[in-house]
């Protein structure tokens, strides 16, 4: 089990290194960078949805808060991008804290509606507060991060930064779900009453994980702003919140590594489907439907299930073959 886990980390590190060395194409590197940013968002949302069972349909708002805090502070006030990132985390988590106190008293669909409303409000503010945010036309000229005099402004350099963050966040999250707190989260998902009867402060735990997942989203937002150097409200709307939920479900609820896969598949797929022009959305939807019908527990478990089935089938054939031979 431990070696299996170690292997996964090794595999991730080696894949990243290999990508860095072999890929000499800015488009592919940028695509990988966006997969990384989406992974941060999806892991956070998965902790909240897949593990704790709390649905958020407004997660793009925290992403937007991180991005706009970074964007506004660096362009308008000349703040250092790294400091702006930290302040973005503060804004995202504080907002989640304030929103979470009333919202998390709601359960199921009501929580989904409340977070949906919040997401729409943030989207409207980003559009309307033009003097701050630049309105619908967005905010340009956001500076890149720089490290010891080296500007992280090429896809290759950003790749190193983003995937280092992804590795870190994946490690923290994997630790978290396999701990006292992670078990309490899953317990809360299955039976809030039983969890409470064992001393789990369910209200507080929900708030903690909500703020924690907003923190991931704000981190992703800030990275996005300093990667693209331009942000506009369109990236942080309702549709993107829905897309994040889809990534969680396709990758697999309550699966840290599934989040990586879900983010990768749903980031690459639209790029591949561009050749179909107008049919793109239809094919995209069809693929999602097929995945959900045949792999309701997500891609990771779905593929594992098929693999196990194949193995059993092969073993079955071997053992019957052996019997007829003897």
């Amino acid at each position: 089990m431990l070696t299996g886990l170690l292997n996964r980390w090794l595999l991730l590190a080696l894949t990243c290194l290999a990508a860095l060395v072999t890929i000499d194409n800015d488009y592919y590197l940028s695509l990988l960078n966006f997969i990384g940013i989406h992974t941060l968002l999806v892991v956070g949302l998965n902790l909240l949805m897949g593990y704790a069972g709390q649905i958020s349909l407004g997660h793009a708002a925290f992403y937007g808060l991180g991005a706009y805090t970074s964007g506004i502070l660096t362009t308008t006030y000349g703040v250092n991008p790294w400091l702006a990132l930290l302040l973005g985390l503060a804004v995202g988590s504080l907002t989640a804290f304030v929103i979470g106190i009333p919202a998390l008293k709601l359960r199921g669909y009501y929580l989904a509606m409340a977070t949906l409303g919040f997401g729409i409000i943030v989207y409207i503010v980003l559009n309307e507060a033009q003097s701050w945010t630049g309105g619908p036309s967005g905010l340009s000229g956001i500076p890149s991060f720089s490290l010891a005099g080296l500007a992280l402004d090429t896809p290759r350099r950003l790749f190193a930064l983003i995937w280092l963050m992804v590795g870190l966040i994946l490690a923290l999250s994997a630790n978290l779900v396999d701990s006292r707190l992670g078990r309490a989260l899953r317990a809360l998902h299955d039976s809030e009453n039983a969890a409470a009867s064992l001393g789990v402060n369910t209200g507080r735990l929900k708030l903690i994980i909500f703020v924690w997942s907003a923190l991931y989203a704000a981190l992703a937002g800030s990275l996005y702003a300093h990667t693209l150097n331009f942000i506009a409200p369109g990236s942080f709307g309702f549709m993107f919140s829905i897309k994040l939920v889809t990534m969680v479900v396709v990758g697999g609820m309550a699966s840290i590594w599934g989040s990586l896969l879900g983010a990768a598949v749903l980031t690459i797929l639209p790029e591949l489907l561009v050749v179909f022009h107008d049919l793109e959305v239809v094919i995209f939807g069809a693929i999602l439907m097929v995945v959900m019908i045949f792999m309701p527990r997500g891609l990771v478990r779905g593929i594992l299930d098929i693999w196990e089935q194949q193995k059993r089938w092969r073993q079955g054939r071997l053992s019957t073959g052996g019997r007829s031979a003897s």
Partner: protein, 256 residues
């Protein structure tokens, strides 16, 4: 007699016009098994919900070890040392049998968000201890062989045992069992009875709500009888069996 562990004083609760409990007062001395019996709808489960904080009494007070606990949230009451099982089993279905019991250690461990995410060295030691204690509780109820299975696959009888193991892992002073024998066959019920008596011998105080009268009479030292939300009798099993009001409540007053 041992000192009073749980003390209910005039506890009342009505749901709209329905008086679920009316001025119920009784005491539970430490170290005994006290059964609460009564016909369906007499208010037994409501009583459990009041003691464990899932409901708040409209009148009356509840003392645990001399401290008022009525109206406190369930997790606070749990952390004081009261554990319970549920009439309709409430397990964490998507977690393994072992993990279910590990959640029982929640109140006795302290790793928070950052310590868990960073996996600080002391949290590993704590995890080891959680794991050991959880195994101990599983072995006590005889579920160690099922440890790695998801809780959802257990048959009902074993699910009830798992709920007990999970509650025991929290090392409570007072354990509330809500119809633990319902859905069990004769052998399972017999084993359950032995287990309850063994727990009492270890010094645990137990309140038992149960319809199986032979089990109740066998294990309980004291019995409280509820009928339509009122306490109609209280005493040792033998006295209760002959109590006229109890007989009337169970068999109808026309009987005799």
């Amino acid at each position: 007699m041992a000192e009073v562990l749980l003390d209910l004083q005039g506890v009342s609760l009505a749901f709209g016009g329905l008086r679920a409990l009316e001025g119920v007062s009784f005491q539970v001395p430490g170290g005994i098994i006290k059964a609460v019996i009564g016909p369906n709808g007499a208010g037994k489960t409501t009583l459990f919900h009041l003691i464990t904080g899932f409901l708040t009494p409209q009148q009356g007070r509840i003392f645990f070890r001399g401290e008022e606990i009525q109206g406190k949230p369930p997790h606070v009451i749990a952390s004081r040392g009261i554990a319970r099982t549920f009439q309709l089993v409430e397990l964490f279905d998507h977690m393994t049998v072992l993990e279910n019991v590990m959640v029982g250690r929640h109140r006795l461990s302290r790793a928070g968000l950052l310590a868990s995410a960073l996996r600080l060295p002391w949290t590993r030691r704590e995890e080891t201890e959680i794991m050991q204690k959880a195994w101990g509780a599983l072995e006590f109820v005889g579920l160690a062989d099922w440890a790695r299975q998801p809780a959802a696959v257990l048959p009902l009888g074993l699910k009830r045992l798992l709920e007990i193991a999970r509650a025991l892992a929290s090392e409570p002073e007072l354990l509330l069992l809500d119809e633990p024998a319902s859905g069990l066959d004769v052998h399972e019920t017999e084993r359950l009875g032995e287990m309850i008596l063994a727990l009492k011998d270890q010094g645990l105080t137990i309140i038992l709500v149960e319809h199986d009268m032979s089990l109740t009479m066998e294990v309980a030292q004291e019995i409280a009888v509820l009928n339509y939300g009122k306490l109609i009798a209280e005493g040792p099993p033998r006295a209760i069996q002959r109590h006229p009001e109890v007989i009337a409540a169970y068999l109808g007053s026309d009987w005799q």
